[in-house]
């Protein structure tokens, strides 16, 4: 069998305990069902869409911001090189927004810079996440996956009012 020095055993045991606690916290937060603060799961929408007919398929035939409850909105976005539809979005402070996005061409990234709103948008798939806008101000939505030579122009403004 393998021979391990006493100190190395202690080192490994401490390491393993730390690792298990860390993974437990990551896992609990990722799978917690609590809305808002508790849940930090990775955006993993399984919905499919034909990339060729996105603009004829609901809800992407009418991209935009729709109120669906008290200070609760759905933001439907279509991404393509090099722009977001809709652009220049206004959202009331404190609103919870369910973002749904897809791409009609290549792979894009949806990022609201400086926040945890961040997801990949791959053609053929819908991706979605929920974000609550607690702070007022101008936010920058940008594409964070290379999508062609105009990639650095792909951005829009989001105003929380």
């Amino acid at each position: 069998m393998l021979h391990m020095h006493k100190f190395e055993k202690i080192w490994m045991i401490v390491g393993v305990i730390t690792l298990i606690s860390f993974l437990t916290i990551v896992g609990v937060q990722a799978f917690s069902k609590a809305e808002g603060e508790g849940h930090h799961g990775a955006p993993s929408d399984m919905t499919l869409v034909d990339p060729e007919t996105v603009t004829e398929t609901a809800p992407f035939n009418e991209p935009g911001l729709k109120q669906i409850g008290e200070n609760e909105y759905e933001l439907v976005m279509v991404l393509q090189s090099y722009g977001f539809t809709p652009g220049d979005i206004e959202i009331p402070q404190g609103a919870t927004v369910h973002i749904k996005a897809t791409s009609i061409d290549v792979v894009h990234g949806f990022e609201i810079a400086g926040t945890s709103a961040n997801m990949m948008v791959t053609p053929g798939h819908v991706n979605s996440m929920t974000y609550t806008f607690d702070k007022k101000g101008s936010f920058l939505i940008l594409c964070n996956e290379y999508c062609g030579t105009g990639h650095h122009f792909m951005s829009t403004n989001l105003e929380v009012i």
Binding site: E8, V26, A42, M46, D105, V106, G114, V121, P123, L142
Partner: protein, 544 residues
């Protein structure tokens, strides 16, 4: 014992291409930092993303692969004996396939036919010849792997019942990892990208290409790292006048790296649709298991340092630390590599956890991360290896003067990389995206804080290129002008040579069986899901 001259030549050609590649790709990297910081604008005949593709392909696939095979040929010839004619021939075929692939890829990128970055994500569609070039590079490595593994097996036949040389064992372990990892990218290139790029199929399954790519992409980083670990485990102890702490644990950690570096690619796809959260988390757990061999390695290395330092008269809790040969670049460079790996590894843990990845995914933080891992830890260790291996292979010596310039070069690299990657990490946290030509976004206020960091990238990048120029100057001296002599090929002895190394560590069928079982568990259901529940495929786009 000198290495057979024919083997030395095979090893040297790989090193020469590696050094040329890193200098060239380093210059491309500097241009990128200058463009991003808006200090220069590019002429109309070349675009930023072309340069970025060149930088990524040449650094990640060309420099590393050539260096590693050069290092493996020399290490195996040294520790297990000279190659047979047939094995050496396979090595040369590998070299030429790699080189044809390299030239073809370079031509395609230069012609602006393959501006798809080194990850070549579909449905951006490059010229089919770019994918052929990638295939040639990988097939070339299979010939090299054959040479190394077949020499190792021959050694076993020549020495029945004996423990194999540690260096050869580690080279074989790294190649086992490589062979299993490349299955993913070979499948994607042969069955998806090539038929699609030639127009034989109209569309491509994007999610599948990405999954196959990252099945390969994560172990790829361990393919870079494990040769550096070989130098840490086997060569550094000899250089500092110490011994290998434990042969069996060194072997065991390499085995664990094979097991836990492959079935983990989903942690690169955490923010992606089409893969369920449960499978993502399962692979995150396997990803973190790789911390175990890393902790073992850290313990073994620092024990070696302490034992060697105390033998030289180091007193007290940390007195041994001062006794280490700080003025010897053969030690200093790999040591800096280990030191850098502490924050680099911590960054990796951040990237692989759900919540933290949400903040940093696809920001320039990630660029900072792989610049201190492969560009920091791996690169400086490779510098340290180069300073003795080139004179050894050429029958020359590392002179005091070259050693001194080597120290300046290594420190300059560490400082430059420190400045550049710190700025990348910090501005990534502020949202600054990676892979982006300029980040001013029409003067948007959120982006306004990033400019200063872009400037720091340019400062760091400039230091890195100066360091590379010094590196190449020293190597030219060591290869062609340094005094003739016999530079040591450092291979340390074991601390406890009587300790038995269990036979099961060399039972490759067992380890390969376990790794395939893990891959099967981690990937089968999600891949079936990706194929069965696939959207209509994507046609190719050429947005450049």
């Amino acid at each position: 014992m000198k290495i057979n001259q024919l083997d030395a030549r095979l090893s040297l050609v790989h090193f020469y291409v590696a050094f040329g590649s890193i200098l060239f790709a380093g210059l491309l990297g500097l241009v990128q930092t200058l463009v991003r910081s808006e200090l220069i604008t590019l002429p109309s005949w070349i675009n930023y993303y072309q340069i970025l593709t060149g930088h990524g392909v040449v650094m990640a696939l060309v420099f590393t692969t050539y260096f590693i095979f050069g290092f493996f040929y020399a290490s195996v010839a040294k520790s297990a004996g000279e190659f047979t004619n047939r094995q050496r021939k396979a090595g040369w075929i590998g070299f030429w396939l790699l080189t044809i692939g390299l030239v073809l890829a370079a031509v395609m990128i230069a012609l602006n036919e393959a501006t798809v970055l080194y990850t070549f994500y579909a449905p951006l569609q490059a010229s089919p010849f770019f994918y052929i070039a990638l295939a040639l590079i990988i097939i070339g490595t299979y010939f090299g792997a054959y040479a190394v593994i077949s020499r190792y097996r021959l050694w076993k036949k020549e020495h029945p019942g004996e423990k194999t040389p540690l260096l050869a064992y580690m080279a074989v372990a790294t190649l086992v990892l490589w062979l299993i990892a490349t299955i993913g990218v070979v499948a994607a290139v042969l069955f998806q990208f090539l038929p699609w790029a030639f127009g034989w199929t109209d569309t491509i399954n994007v999610a599948l290409t990405r999954t196959l790519f990252w099945y390969f992409g994560h172990p790829l980083v361990y393919f870079w790292l494990l040769p550096a670990y070989m130098a840490w485990y086997v060569m550094v102890p000899k250089i500092i006048g110490g011994k290998i702490f434990s042969d069996q644990l060194a072997r065991f950690s390499f085995v664990l790296f094979i097991l836990f570096s492959i079935p983990v690619g989903f942690h690169h796809q955490l923010l992606e649709s089409g893969i369920s959260e449960g499978w993502k988390f399962f692979q995150v757990i396997l990803t973190f298991a790789v911390i175990l061999p890393s902790l073992m390695t850290a313990f073994a290395l620092f024990s070696t340092f302490e034992i060697a330092g105390r033998q030289k008269g180091g007193k007290g809790l940390f007195g041994w630390f001062k006794k280490l040969p700080w003025g010897d670049v053969r030690f200093l460079a790999p040591f800096l590599g280990m030191l850098i790996f502490i924050p680099a590894g911590a960054g990796g843990i951040i990237n692989a956890s759900h919540q933290l990845n949400q903040i940093v995914h696809n920001t320039v933080w990630v660029t900072g991360h792989f610049h201190i891992t492969v560009g920091g830890t791996v690169a400086v260790t490779f510098f340290g290896i180069s300073y003795w291996i080139i004179p050894h292979l050429k029958g020359r010596i590392l002179t005091k003067k070259m050693n001194k310039i080597g120290i300046y070069q290594t420190v300059l690299w560490a400082v430059g990389m420190g400045i550049m990657s710190s700025a990348m990490h910090i501005s990534g946290l502020l949202g600054n995206p990676r892979r982006t030509q300029v980040t001013s976004y029409n003067g948007h206020e959120v982006a306004s804080s990033w400019g200063a960091y872009e400037m720091a990238h340019a400062v760091g990048g400039s230091l890195l290129v100066i360091s590379l120029v010094l590196f190449v100057i020293v190597l030219i001296n060591l290869a062609f002008f340094a005094p003739k002599g016999n530079e040591e090929f450092p291979i340390a002895e074991e601390l406890n040579p009587t300790q038995q190394t269990p036979n099961w560590l060399e039972n490759w069928k067992l380890w390969i069986g376990i790794v395939f079982a893990l891959i099967f568990i981690a990937y089968t259901l999600p891949i079936i899901d990706i194929i069965n529940n696939s959207p209509p495929g994507s046609s190719g786009f050429k947005y450049w």
